[in-house]
């Protein structure tokens, strides 16, 4: 909770609100600079912020806390990743929104429940897509956060960005565990891929 609040305080409130509102209005992706998830600097930013967040995670040696500790770490990793996207993508806003809903549901005056349902569902041109393709697109839309009702091209764009971000997340977290344990474990195996 404390770590979430500290991240919320990082940006001024008005700036944050503007991001939330205008994020849904922005449809023309060409005008928005994209996050380069492959760059080393992005990964370093992510690693540093993740360590900051991990510092605040409760650490208790008891077995009962293992599950909640894992949950907190997973959520912190996702939250830091989503924040780094700076509101440019739907999946990142959806991650933050769902975490906010879970944690602050009782305290928040402005209900953010409509966050992911804000866009009008765009109808697919049905003659273009076969049922199998539609089914696979639906599967994909369930995997990418916040993309259940977006149009097919939107979905592909979100998925593209989401995959790049996830890869960075894996690289960064792998590097972190290597720092502590020592011997390298080959995950994605890409150190020269920036």
């Amino acid at each position: 909770m404390a770590s979430l609040i500290s991240y919320l305080n990082l940006e001024e409130e008005s700036k944050r609100k503007k991001l939330w509102k205008t994020g849904y209005e922005l449809r023309d992706r060409n005008s928005r600079p994209e996050t380069s998830w492959r760059s080393e600097s992005e990964q370093r930013i992510y690693s540093t912020k993740l360590v900051d967040a991990l510092r605040l995670v409760r650490r208790n040696p008891s077995a009962a806390d293992m599950v909640s500790s894992f949950r907190e770490i997973r959520e912190a990793a996702d939250r830091v990743l989503a924040v780094e996207a700076k509101g440019r993508t739907r999946w990142s806003r959806a991650i933050l929104a769902s975490q906010l809903r879970l944690r602050l549901a009782n305290n928040m005056k402005h209900k953010r429940a409509k966050v992911t349902g804000c866009s009008r569902p765009k109808r697919l041109e049905k003659k273009r897509f076969s049922p199998t393709l539609q089914r696979k697109a639906r599967l994909l839309s369930r995997l990418v956060p916040g993309c259940r009702k977006v149009s097919f091209p939107n979905l592909l764009e979100e998925a593209t960005d989401y995959i790049a971000a996830l890869e960075m997340q894996v690289r960064a977290m792998t590097a972190l565990t290597e720092l502590v344990t020592g011997p390298p474990v080959d995950r994605l195996g890409s150190t020269s891929n920036s």
Partner: protein, 92 residues
């Protein structure tokens, strides 16, 4: 490229061009290690979608495993935290 201004049969729905879709599909294709390594041009959109789903699922699993590992490491000793932070600071 804005194709929204062209006439559409369905009012309120933007026309999605074939080129746009193919472009996005091929961009996605480039990201997928399975398909990229196979170096085959005969990859259907359905294939790409399927591989995308599989890849995202496997990435999710990786992150879960890494989270669990980190949680074990952090729980085991307090000095682990200090070690992480020190190493990160050294890299700068």
């Amino acid at each position: 490229m804005s194709s929204r201004r062209s006439r559409t049969r369905q009012p309120g729905c933007s026309r999605i061009s074939d080129d746009q879709i193919n472009d996005l599909v091929s961009k996605l294709q480039q990201l997928l290690p399975e398909i990229r390594d196979r170096r085959s041009d005969k990859v259907s959109a359905g294939n790409v979608l399927q591989e995308t789903c599989n890849y995202i699922r496997s990435l999710h699993k990786e992150v879960d495993d890494l989270s669990e590992r980190l949680s074990e490491l952090l729980a085991s000793t307090d000095t682990a935290q200090a070690a992480i932070i020190r190493s990160l600071l050294k890299q700068k």
